[in-house]
Symmetry: C4
Subunit: 423 residues, 4 copies
């Protein structure tokens, strides 16, 4: 039996034998949960000589291969062997802390970056890296978004502007939010949160993002929008003073109202149903399209794997388009972190109770409708197009059976444990 | 003779011997018809040692390789072997149903997605997956498109808008339709329909898309536009009431007409010929450019394979550009699903017979002209630039000979069958 | 000696021995002249076992690999062997005809496309394929460009438009030309002409595009712009009639002038020098940036190979940007095919001698200045940044020595021939 | 022991044995300093047979592989061997000159380009290639930027424009600067300077760009902006004369002021603090986002390696977005080369001392604030997200320890040298 044949026989376990792990460490590192595990773990293609020629995954995302090479097995082993007991303990400590706040226990750091010794701060940062990314992503998004509203509103039709017609029009606001999410996604996109609690919910429900991660992402997103709107206020405080009068801050019906810099207010002619429907439909489109751009198995979609590296551009156009087509009625809030957080900030800054009562206590609509819309949009996509097994719609009894079995198994194990205890 | 040499001798049949099939399953799955078979089936490059190193095709579309690894032969064999007789029967049942409505008989689902047990609904969905994709693609396109018209028209020059000049201008409508087709293509693009019956026709005529698939795509596109315009109406019903007066719905000559939210109406100074020509020329450009973006063999085109992953962006700019350069005269309908379907919806919603009679019964122009224009545009591209064998212009006697021979062979076989019957 | 060692020894000639030619046929087919030969012919990387693992080139342009696999040696050989004597003669006939009009003698058709039998028309088309591509590229560019000017000019501030302010503004024209060149490049880009005789000149001078190809590209570009402006006129004839009055066609100082739909007219306050300078500087930027986007060896440029697949997008933004920053003075003609051809068309259509005399016989400026500007811009780039050997600035005595030696050698050979004749 | 096994045993040193160096020469050539060394030098993946199958790096930047194949070892050796002693001396002479002005000593030229003999000019150019690239990058950026301001300002609301409302609005200026930086980055991007001294500073501080390179980049950027604004003035001199009156040049409070074509002037209602804050926050966003787009190890960022080939597009949208959201207060200077250089030019051109005194001697703000902002933005990114070892925030005692040790070692070596001297 020649060596050639031998290695061929070993093929199924070849990647283990040769000590080469091609599981993308980037993915491992990024705390990829089910949502991101693209069913291609075992997809490594092999040549007849049993060599694992390419990480399939690296091919799908050619720019992602980074980590793959950085952490090939020998390096890893060396790394692990030269790690002191102390270091390993430290790492497992951090892992535990991460798990306790709902984050994946892998450290979100590339192997080769760990060689430098670290302080308390980098340690602390490692625990909260994804939420930090989510915070800054939302922060930058709202910075651009609220900034554009402020500039357009406050400079409206100013004759001394070049071109003689102010520093922007309504369309500038669409661009502003589009650019904002573009950079937000680059900063925090794939962490699973998508800068919007409603989208996070959609991923928890339909793509297996662990539920325990929802609260910390929610907090990060909420704070991102909150702080950003404060920075925008600080930046435009002189201009607001000049527009409204020093110290005067008013809400919508007032002719010099500037509260809409921060959050959305509905058009006066809208019924409550229409307010809700407008936010609902925009959020449904958001979720539906995000799932389409992320769907690597839709045979209809270009015969390719979703939007890939063009995903941030896709979201840019999505938010831009929503602003152009569904932005008038209620201002396409579609995001609690972009509406409720700044609204709270504006209340704190002295805009008065009008921020809550305006539009018939409209403020709860962009709190609730985006969640409903995103769930509906995600449902539509999965019901009609998505075939992946992580969607509950593709599970037996829509996942309820699994849920039931899990809970039964859980109770079983509890009972067993109890019996052992009693024994 | 060493093992190395041995494997080298086996080269020609190496890929079969080693049990590795690298025919992209994604392609197979996607029910790729002639139009999509990119003449590269047998293009797999081999090294001297008989290894099939890379699927060429995967290289062309680096993001498409997804399936390639997912369905390498061992997996497939295992899969097939562990499939019960019942399951296989079920699958062939679905295949038959798909074929009967004009769709390719392969199931449009990635192998690894089939492991979950399925209900009636997923089964039903598998039968109509491409039409569903085409429906939702057209749906989203018209949602963005009609939505942008509604927003611009109804909010026109509203002084309370940020910037003081309404929530958009004519250009916003161009952006809206552009964004709409961008996401439409991501949802349903390569299924062959392209969200427009006239483009489907062009692909049937010039790129070998099976004719039997035309009706179901047509229906899906028609319904997509129809439903979407209804949703837009529902979203802007308060605003339309405020603009026109409660319950009043009027067509073009009326100063508060809102019928143009749904479908196109021509400028009053146009002759019938000009109406037709305007739609004709825009549709011809559409088809010509789509063929150019999809042409992987045009040596003039960047020395590369068409627009590739930038195809949705290309169509975005195409529709945007058509709106900017050929959008005034008749509103660049260029698509029955975007004009006739919403027109019917607006008639049903109570806009009266004016939707048909306006512009001298203009409504038939965007029904007919796009088909003529797309055929002409496709003809131009194939006559002057395209060299692929699936175009009838590159066949002997423009494909008529083939047609004639096929029909003769068909009659022959019929006669034989009959004779056998009689015998 | 093991087989491993053997194959390693053969490495230098390995690719020949194994009968695999990995020279990208696409390139060969496309009649790539020096300008396009990217100095990577011999760049195929080899592993220690003498296998030619990947065509480097295919890696650079991952979407270009198409042909590579289509025409691997075995196929080619078979192809050649099954070609009849007649067919080969036919091919060489076409080659000769192509050469006589200045085109490369290779047939611009992918191998696998030739299997169908052909008529006279496909034969004729093969002779002129690149000029046809250049014609249609320029055609589509001017169609979008002139179309956008017509729409904006004729619909200016029309109150019945959605949004109440016409069907576009000056910026729409910038978008129109940008979109136009985007698709023009996809249709004809890399044929070397770039839809603009001045750019063709730059490539002839600085990138080794054969001079004999200039005339036929020039003609194709000229005709493309000429025909396209006629089509735009036909499309907007009713609207022009309504704007100017039936049958009345006037030039710039007239308040209802529509001649500027076709070609550029300068602002009245410009001196002749400023007219020239404005066109000169815009053309210089055009050439400089095109060379930058195409420069695969500039270490400054992103550490990558120029703009690659984003080249059409780059040109889109370039033309868009020129319109925004240098479009006022003289209308950024920067292209004879976009200015002189439509001007001639407008003269023929009855706009009178004013099309020539306007702006102090300005018409010659966009005929001459783009050539000067493109030469200067190309000179700047090559003098300060480009290091490739095909630029005369990187040759000894700026290529004059080579020129002199070539001509001397030519005379020598002539003299020898003559002597032989005399003998 | 078969040959297969043998080569497998050699695996660790295989790439050396076979004489194949796959270190990307492009990178070596580009004088990549620490900032660009992407920690992946030793990332080359190996198969079990010891073959170096792919340069990982080439996979990350698929379009960068260019050089990889061009300079595989055999070629290189041949090249070096046929280089005369004289040539090598010449090269080392250039290297020394480059080092003396703060540039990396590798020649910034691709190997295959050096075959042509060279004059004095190309030699001179090789010494200053990166600064030249930086100069022209900044030049083109300011050309587009200042050009767009000039066009919009001078043509403001001109009724004879197509569309009847001038040749652009404030938004055109945003597009202009966006397009400008897009091409600037393609011309000079990765040289480390990024067309902005404040960004260069950020890379020196946080990404290990050698400090000695700062001065020459600074000079190149300064001159680029200076010359470009002069060219814009030359282009629009007639128009300025017509707008202001022949020979009259005024600053901001004047109703016909054109000084703002060149540089930024603040809104009159701004306090000094707000002026500073506005520039500070915009610069901080700039640096933060640039670091995010360049961060290949952020697990949050799309699971990929930063923006990659879309980086120029990213910066386009960034500058565009800043103009839309933070462009009103002080005109988003955020760059000395874009504000101070043109301001100096305008002073020289006769705009009087107002260019310095306007806005309460505002001119120093965009000199100082961008540096502060960029340092803060870079600090934020590194403190919360970046984990790479070249950032001082990821070094022990924030790099001070290293600094201290370096200086101690330096003094030690000096003392030793002195002692040896004394001895």
């Amino acid at each position: 039996m020649s060596s050639e044949q031998k290695s061929q026989n070993k093929a199924p376990s070849g990647s283990v034998d040769s000590g080469i792990t091609l599981i993308n460490p980037h993915r491992k590192i990024s705390g990829s949960d089910q949502a991101n595990v693209k069913h291609i773990e075992n997809a490594t293609r092999r040549t007849s000589s049993g060599q694992t020629l390419r990480n399939e995954d690296a091919e799908l995302f050619p720019e992602e291969g980074n980590g793959a090479g950085l952490q090939n097995a020998p390096t890893q082993e060396t790394e692990h062997s030269h790690k002191s007991q102390e270091e390993l303990q430290h790492e497992s400590h951090i892992s535990n802390l991460r798990q306790s706040v709902g984050l994946p226990d892998e450290l979100p750091i590339a192997e080769q970056h760990e060689e430098t010794e670290r302080f308390n701060w980098p340690t602390f940062r490692l625990i909260f890296r994804e939420p930090f990314a989510e915070f800054f992503g939302t922060f930058v998004m709202v910075l651009f978004g609220n900034g554009s509203v402020a500039q357009v509103l406050l400079s409206g039709r100013q004759a001394s502007a070049p071109g003689g017609d102010g520093y922007g029009s309504y369309q500038s606001i669409n661009w502003g939010w589009g650019v904002g999410i573009f950079f937000g996604i680059y900063i925090a996109g794939d962490s699973g949160g998508f800068l919007n609690p409603a989208v996070t919910l959609g991923f928890c429900l339909f793509r297996g993002l662990p539920w325990r991660r929802f609260p910390i992402y929610f907090l990060a997103q909420f704070l991102g929008g909150f702080v950003a709107s404060g920075v925008v206020y600080a930046n435009y405080i002189n201009a607001i003073d000049q527009f409204e009068g020093h110290g005067i801050r008013t809400v919508a019906p007032s002719p010099t109202a500037t509260a809409s810099i921060f959050c959305t207010y509905p058009q006066p002619f809208l019924s409550k149903t229409s307010q809700f429907f407008s936010e609902f439909i925009a959020s449904a489109i958001l979720m539906f399209v995000v799932f389409a751009l992320k769907d690597d198995s839709n045979p209809g979609a270009m015969g390719k794997t979703g939007a890939g590296a063009l995903f941030p551009l896709g979201l840019f156009l999505l938010i831009f388009g929503l602003g152009i087509s569904f932005g008038w009625d209620t201002g396409y809030a579609i995001n609690l972190a972009r509406d409720f957080s700044p609204r709270l900030m504006s209340y704190i800054l002295g805009y008065g109770p009008g921020v809550w009562s305006a539009g018939g206590y409209y403020f709860w609509i962009p709190l609730v409708a985006p969640f409903c819309g995103c769930v509906f949009g995600g449902f539509l996509y999965d019901a009609f197009i998505y075939t992946g097994p992580e969607s509950p719609l593709n599970k037996k009894w829509w996942g309820f059976k699994e849920l039931y079995e899990n809970s039964r198994r859980h109770q079983e194990s509890k009972r067993l444990e109890k019996r052992r205890y009693d024994a």
